[in-house]
């Protein structure tokens, strides 16, 4: 809980316990939102169910607003928050593979684990596939190393690239999210599949 340890110092076991409780809460929330159903997740791509984008985008925005407000009040040290390192080519290729896997399998890694925990067979097979993919990645790494490590840009943040403050970027993102939610509602009406949505 690095960012919060600037406020209070907590022993490591408590740190890990809090992480466990947050993880349980996250899994519970995902399952309750219906994200252990592959048909609900695949609905994002077919248009009949846009819950995925609404939930994840809302979660990201709430986290963004919350973390920035906490940072402003001096309660959170944002400099301790990990920022992913950006490899352009790897992100594009990896994103395409991940997207294809998502729509074919109907799960992403987090929701797949969620479904696995309630005993879904398709999630078990999905996970086997994921582990196979990870194994193949490791075994073929010498051949794809150049792609994986190419065009490295470092831990960039979008607002830094755009030259605007984090707060202003958050505002623009919220506007984009609201517009996207509105489009998602329209898509649900246009691509409605009551035969599927009545069951999930």
């Amino acid at each position: 809980m690095g960012p919060i340890s600037s406020l209070i110092s907590i022993p490591e076991w408590l740190d890990l316990l809090i992480a466990l409780l947050i993880g349980i809460g996250f899994g519970f929330a995902l399952e309750q939102a219906g994200f252990s159903s592959s048909r609900k997740l695949a609905g994002m791509f077919y248009g009949y169910d846009t819950t995925v984008i609404k939930v994840f985008f809302t979660a990201a925005i709430v986290a963004l607003i919350g973390s920035q407000l906490l940072s402003f009040f001096g309660l959170l040290n944002l400099n301790l928050v990990f920022v992913n390192e950006f490899y352009v080519a790897a992100s594009i290729v990896g994103g395409i593979i991940m997207g294809a896997g998502f729509i074919m399998g109907g799960f992403c890694p987090g929701t797949g684990m969620c479904a696995l925990s309630i005993g879904k067979i398709d999630a078990m097979v999905f996970f086997l596939g994921g582990l196979t993919g990870a194994f193949l990645f490791a075994e073929t790494y010498p051949f794809i190393q150049k792609l994986a490590n190419g065009s490295y840009k470092g831990p960039v943040k979008i607002n830094e690239v755009m030259g605007i403050s984090p707060g202003l970027f958050t505002f623009f993102l919220i506007i984009a999210a609201v517009v996207m939610f509105w489009i998602a509602e329209l898509a649900e009406k246009k691509f409605a599949r009551p035969d599927i949505t009545s069951e999930i």
């Binding site: 407000l69 402003f72 009040f73 001096g74």
Partner: protein, 153 residues
């Protein structure tokens, strides 16, 4: 009115955040955002002032003596306050420093390390127009000459 009733939860939440933000922005006992911005004048060594320059300020400055039990050894006109370094952040003192608008605030200590540390703390708390009063303005100049040993190769 109808709109207000429908959005009362949202309005309440936003108002709470707004009030907290206003309190934080106008409060004095915390550090400002962006350490680099508030340390800027020290990067250019533009935050020190010598006694001759201080005399030209014609008494508009607030001079703070950070040393305990020693008087300011310089003869400069201006508001002089003896504030030992350990009480510079008390509510009254910090308000006096931050609200001094007539001219610059000058920090003095016989120990340059002390005045520079206090300068950085006060600057990061939003104190603008803050300087270190010192007669040793070439403190960061290397004062010796190194003679290499030509036998080393």
């Amino acid at each position: 009115m109808e709109l207000f009733k429908r959005f009362k939860v949202v309005i309440t939440l936003v108002l709470i955040v707004l009030i907290l933000v206003v309190f934080r922005s106008t409060g004095i006992n915390h550090f400002r955002n962006d350490a680099k911005k508030w340390a800027e004048t020290s990067f250019r060594h533009a935050n020190t002032i010598d006694p001759e320059q201080a005399k030209l300020l014609k008494g508009k400055s607030l001079i703070i003596n950070l040393d305990k039990n020693t008087k300011l050894p310089l003869d400069i006109a201006g508001d002089l306050m003896d504030i030992p370094a350990d009480s510079v952040l008390s509510r009254i003192n910090i308000k006096t420093i931050l609200n001094h608008n007539a001219g610059p605030v000058l920090l003095f200590s016989e120990e340059k390390g002390l005045s520079s540390r206090v300068w950085m703390i006060l600057s990061q708390m939003g104190c603008k127009n803050l300087f270190i009063l010192t007669s040793d303005t070439d403190n960061e100049v290397f004062k010796y000459k190194f003679r290499p040993d030509t036998m080393v190769n």
